[in-house]
């Protein structure tokens, strides 16, 4: 059974919100298949009883005080907006709900 196929790539690109054309999907599927075959190596390692590492350093309890500081102005916040109106960012129609 293949690790990855066109259908899986289509599902994943939907999750990642990238619309590939058919030939790109095929090309990526092939390349990813090779990469995933290589990555299979990881299955050899004995990970019984091993804790995962999500941070290379053992830091903990980093916090800040509840003291306000200045925000960006509306102009600064919107300075790179592709489309804005009356102080809001404007986006096209949203069909799906959360």
């Amino acid at each position: 059974m293949k690790i990855i196929n066109d259908k899986i790539v289509q599902h994943v690109t939907h999750l990642a919100r990238i619309e590939l054309d058919a030939s790109s999907t095929k090309a990526f599927t092939r390349q990813l298949e090779r990469i995933l075959e290589y990555i299979k190596k990881l299955q050899e390692v004995d990970i019984e009883g091993i804790e995962p590492t999500s941070h290379p350093l053992k830091l903990s309890n980093v916090t800040r005080d509840d003291i306000p500081s200045a925000s960006l102005t509306q102009e600064e916040s919107l300075s790179n907006a592709p489309d804005s109106q009356n102080g809001f960012f404007k986006v096209p129609k949203i069909i799906e709900s959360k």
Binding site: A16, R17, I35, L42, V45, P52, H55, P56
Partner: protein, 487 residues
């Protein structure tokens, strides 16, 4: 000697003595940039008028620190307020951040000058600087070859004397490998040593900003200024900044240098690379260091582990590039879904898309345990390998890259072979350790003289130790004085 050919230390001395002004340095650089940059494409969004203005306005009056008045090239993934910061990606076209990265604030505070943005692989995904939306960077030693990546622009600019020094970023070797392939010094500090606030994230648990410079001493000087705890970065470490410079010339007699056998398998390493490294090991012995054979047993899993973790984190970090607030947006999209999907397809290059797809896959339901979780556990095992060897060594010595600079286009269509060129640098990021690449010789096997770098890996927060070891080697080997010709 032309000003553009000098480093931070020498220029700093001249500035202090009043022999030159920072405007003089900028002028010298700008003339050379205008001539050389079209050949190597190191600088992007180059606005000569803007830089000339900056040069004129740089009226630094006091030179009370060694970086004052020095112009520095900044990799295009570090935010400079009001200046184009695009990660060499179409999807960030036109983006001017309303804030400075912490490292830029530190640079400005020390009166150094952020002077131009340099080219990189798109979003730092790459080992050759071929995936940039601005076109590839050419290796100053041979324009038909790549300079390494992803900080290829930073390294090429320094190597060809169109930058005094530069900032790069390193997630899997992106500072060290291009430094090795272009014959300059590049360092990735300990994770947490330098603030990531303002660095456009690739893989949050692996990324670090670092210096790329002409000499080890310059590297140490730049590192001193940009290091330090930042309250805006929860992963930055609250440890004092040692004086990286004052211990450089201390002798290294008696220091224990470990040679991990897994990094010295002859298959996969080019002959010249192998020979230069062996010569370097002998040189270290002559300097009085003790050479010890060690083992890092899980090295063979580094690339797999890295690509799962890095791609997964990247797929999430890059989700924000969606056309809503900044950058590219598909015109006349009828729904936000269409806007997202088409903008991201148009805006990201192939390697970026590949990594996002791989990362999304590795995190997705049904695959998380087999990929991401497993990779995090193998990472733990790799960390323990390093912990063991650092009980008996002061540092480790390895080749930085298994090959010299390869030809443009050679590996572009074969992502896996591109990934394999990071084999010696990746484990360092997984562990979060500091490492430096220094020039150790050349290869003539491909017709032109191509640089080779050696890597020194230190224990956590031991940058001053590896700098010292690197400095001693550099001063003895004198390789750094050789520069590319014919530009």
């Amino acid at each position: 000697m032309e000003l553009y050919s000098l480093g931070i230390k020498e220029l700093g001395n001249k500035l202090k003595k009043g022999e030159i002004t920072s405007a003089d340095i900028c002028k010298s650089l700008l003339e050379r940039i205008e001539r050389i940059n079209p050949k190597i494409n190191a600088y992007v969004n180059l606005d000569l008028g803007f830089l000339q203005k900056k040069a004129k306005e740089s009226n630094v009056s006091s030179y009370n620190n060694f970086l004052a008045g020095i112009p520095l090239a900044i990799k295009d993934n570090i935010c400079v307020k009001g200046e184009l910061t695009t990660c060499a990606s179409r999807i960030l076209s036109g983006f001017r951040p309303p804030y400075d990265a912490t490292v830029i604030q530190k640079i400005k505070k020390s009166n150094a000058i952020p002077f131009g943005k340099v080219n990189m692989d798109e979003f730092a995904f790459g080992s050759s600087t071929e995936t940039s939306c601005y076109g590839p960077v050419c290796n100053p030693w041979d324009l038909s070859r790549i300079p390494g990546g992803s900080s290829g622009g930073s390294a090429a600019a320094v190597a060809s004397d169109i930058a005094v020094a530069a900032l790069g970023s390193d997630t899997g070797g992106s500072i060290r490998q291009p430094a090795a392939l272009t014959g300059v010094v590049g360092m990735k500090p300990t994770y947490g040593r330098i603030s990531r606030y303002g660095l456009l994230a690739f893989a949050s648990s692996l990324d670090q900003i670092g210096p790329i410079a002409k000499t080890v001493e310059d590297c140490a000087l730049l590192l001193s200024v940009i290091s330090g705890y930042d309250t805006k970065d929860s992963t930055s470490v609250n440890t004092g900044i040692p004086d990286f410079q004052s211990t450089l010339s201390n002798p290294i007699k008696g220091m224990k240098i470990g040679i991990p056998k897994e990094y010295f398998k002859k298959i996969g390493i080019e002959k010249d690379v192998y020979e230069r490294i062996e010569e370097s090991i002998r040189l270290f012995s002559n300097l009085g260091a003790e050479i010890i054979d060690v083992s890092l047993p899980h090295t063979e899993y580094a690339i797999s582990t890295y690509y799962i973790i890095a791609s997964s984190e990247a797929s999430s970090n890059l989700a924000r590039y969606d056309g809503v607030q900044y950058g590219l947006r598909l015109k006349d999209a009828s729904t936000t879904m269409e806007m997202y999907k088409k903008t991201r397809n148009m805006g990201f290059g192939n390697e970026a898309k590949r990594r996002i797809i791989l990362g999304t896959y590795a995190l997705s339901s049904g695959y998380y345990d087999a990929y991401y979780l497993r990779a995090m556990k193998v990472r733990t095992k790799m960390l323990r390998d390093f912990e063991e060897v650092f009980k008996i060594c002061d540092c480790l010595l390895t080749p930085t890259s298994p090959t010299v600079a390869f030809k443009m286009g050679e590996k572009l269509e074969d992502p896996l072979s591109m990934y394999l060129s990071d084999v010696f640098t990746i484990p360092v990021n997984l562990a979060g350790l500091p490492a430096i690449s220094i020039p150790c010789g050349f290869s003539k096997a491909k017709g032109t003289e191509l640089p080779i770098g050696l890597q020194l890996i230190g224990n956590y927060f031991k940058e001053n130790l590896i700098l010292q070891i690197a400095y001693n080697f550099e001063q003895k080997a004198q390789v750094y004085k050789i520069k590319p010709e014919g530009l």
